[in-house]
Each structure stands twice: as structure tokens, then as C-alpha cells.
């Protein structure tokens, strides 16, 4: 890695983190296109790297929630049972797809998220750790 690449990746991580905290959307959605368009990563490598970066961020966030008694571990375990099977299917499928096709599919996902952001107002103004009712 060159110094320029290190600075670019640090900036991407920082920006993705700020926007994730600010908009309540995950960092992966922001990091993947940035790695592809700014640091010219292959779509597959951008996605695989994003998945690794998400792990400590999610672990840190859920630990904070757990300390505040907001986390239902039993429900998280039920989600994870289906989730790991899905993750296996999804990642094997992604790796079998051509890079250009995967990048275009990702672009369609972005369009869907942008549409949802335009349609659901006011969510961003709610505190992240809003108390469950």
C-alpha cells in the first residue's frame, strides 16, 4: 500500500463511519462503492474487505447495546441461525458472478436504498439509541 492509498482508505473509513452514525445506515453500503471508485478495488475485494471491517464495528455497537439492556440475545441467535446459512449462500453466489455484473447489481441495491431514504422521512432525526417502547 502506498501512503496515498493509506490516506484514502483512512478517509473512506472515517467518512463511512460519520455517515453511518449520522444517517443510521450501515458502513458497508458506503465503503464498498468508495473502495471501487476511489481506490480502484475489484468489486469482489471491496465487498470481502467491507465484510471484515463490519465485524468489529457491529461487535462494539452491540456490546454497548447489551450493557444498556437493549439487546435480546435469544432473538439475535435466532436471526444468526438463518443469517449464517444466508451469508454462505450469498457470498458463494457473489464470488461466482462476473465483476461487472456484481458491480451493476450493487448499483441497483444503492438505488433501492436511496429511494427508501427519500420516502421515509424523519428517521434520521431520531436518536440511535431510542428507548424501545
Amino acid at each position: 500500500m502506498t501512503l496515498i492509498e493509506i490516506l484514502a482508505l483512512f478517509g473512506i473509513g472515517l467518512t463511512a463511519g460519520v455517515l453511518a452514525g449520522l444517517l443510521g445506515i450501515g458502513g458497508g453500503v458506503l465503503m464498498v462503492p468508495a473502495m471501487v471508485l476511489i481506490t480502484a478495488f475489484d468489486q469482489h475485494v471491496a465487498q470481502g474487505t467491507s465484510l471484515l471491517v463490519i465485524i468489529p464495528a457491529a461487535a462494539f455497537g452491540s456490546f454497548t447495546h447489551h450493557r444498556h439492556g437493549r439487546l435480546a440475545l435469544r432473538d439475535a441467535a435466532a436471526l444468526a441461525v438463518g443469517g449464517v446459512v444466508g451469508a454462505l449462500l450469498g457470498s458463494v453466489t457473489a464470488l461466482s458472478l462476473d465483476e461487472d455484473l456484481l458491480r451493476r447489481l450493487f448499483a441497483i441495491l444503492l438505488l433501492g436504498i436511496a429511494a427508501r431514504m427519500l420516502l421515509t422521512r424523519r428517521r434520521a432525526a431520531e436518536p440511535v439509541d431510542a428507548k424501545p417502547t
Binding site: E5, G13, L14, T15, A16, G17, V18, L19, G21, L22, L23, G24, G26, G28, V29, V32, V36, L37, F41, D42, A46, Q47, G48, T49, S50, L51, L52, V53, I54, A58, G61, S62, H65, H66, L71, D75, A76, L79, A80, V81, G82, G83, V84, V85, G86, A87, L88, L89, G90, S91, V92, A94, L95, L110, M117, L118, A125, P127, V128, P132
Partner: protein, 127 residues
């Protein structure tokens, strides 16, 4: 008063597993967490409150992303040094974003960013 999660009001685990399955596919396919579909699905299909749904989905993202990262890693599709630099940046960024949100988190920001994302998507489609 924070509401402690009681053992009496857990949603159907079968429905949660199906929601997790869909989120896992999305996560593995696109290198994202999957919270985008998990949180609204948990609110709408499992009747969970928004705050509890996002906390719970975040915990399930840990094993989901770990499986994806492992599969991509086996195919040499994970850049470890890049991941380390991104982690440092994003952990700082999340703190800054959480601090900024009550100050500037409003609809204009959200709409502005959604339009920016449409621009990114179009660039990715034509590049």
C-alpha cells in the same frame, strides 16, 4: 426507565431465522451488514420496536459478516491491510457521526445524501 427485554415477549424464532436468512443472502452477496432489510422486517413482520430491532440486528451481523468474510477470504478477496486502515477510520468516524447526529441529523441531509447515492449508483452502472 430503560425497558429490560423480558423473556415473555420474544417474537417467533422461526420468523426471525427467515428474516436472518434473507439478510444473510444480502450481506454475502453485496458485502454489507444486512441491517437495511433486517430492521424494517423485524419491525413489520415480528412486531419489534425500532430501537430493539436495530440493537438485535447489529449483534446478528457479527456472525453473518464473519461467515461472508471467511468465504471471501478463502478466495483471496479480502485485503487485510486495507481492512485494518478502514477499521481505524470507521471506528473514529462512528463516534463523530453519533455526536453530530442530534446536531445536524435532519431531512435535508438525508435527502441530499440519497441524491448523492443515486449519482454513485449511476456511475457504477456506466463504468
Amino acid at each position: 426507565m430503560p425497558h429490560m427485554v423480558s423473556s415473555l415477549d420474544h417474537p417467533n424464532p422461526f420468523i426471525l431465522a427467515l428474516i436472518g436468512l434473507a439478510a444473510g443472502v444480502l450481506s454475502g452477496l453485496f458485502g454489507v451488514g444486512g441491517g437495511i432489510i433486517m430492521v424494517p422486517a423485524m419491525v413489520m413482520l415480528a412486531g419489534m420496536a425500532q430501537g430493539r430491532a436495530s440493537a438485535t440486528s447489529l449483534a446478528s451481523i457479527v456472525p453473518i459478516a464473519a461467515v461472508g468474510a471467511f468465504v471471501f477470504g478463502r478466495s483471496d478477496s479480502v485485503d487485510l491491510p486495507a481492512a485494518a486502515v478502514l477499521m481505524v477510520g470507521s471506528l473514529i468516524g462512528v463516534q463523530v457521526g453519533a455526536w453530530l447526529m442530534p446536531r445536524i441529523g435532519d431531512d435535508r441531509l438525508r435527502i441530499g445524501f440519497a441524491i448523492f447515492m443515486i449519482g454513485i449508483a449511476v456511475t457504477m452502472l456506466i463504468s
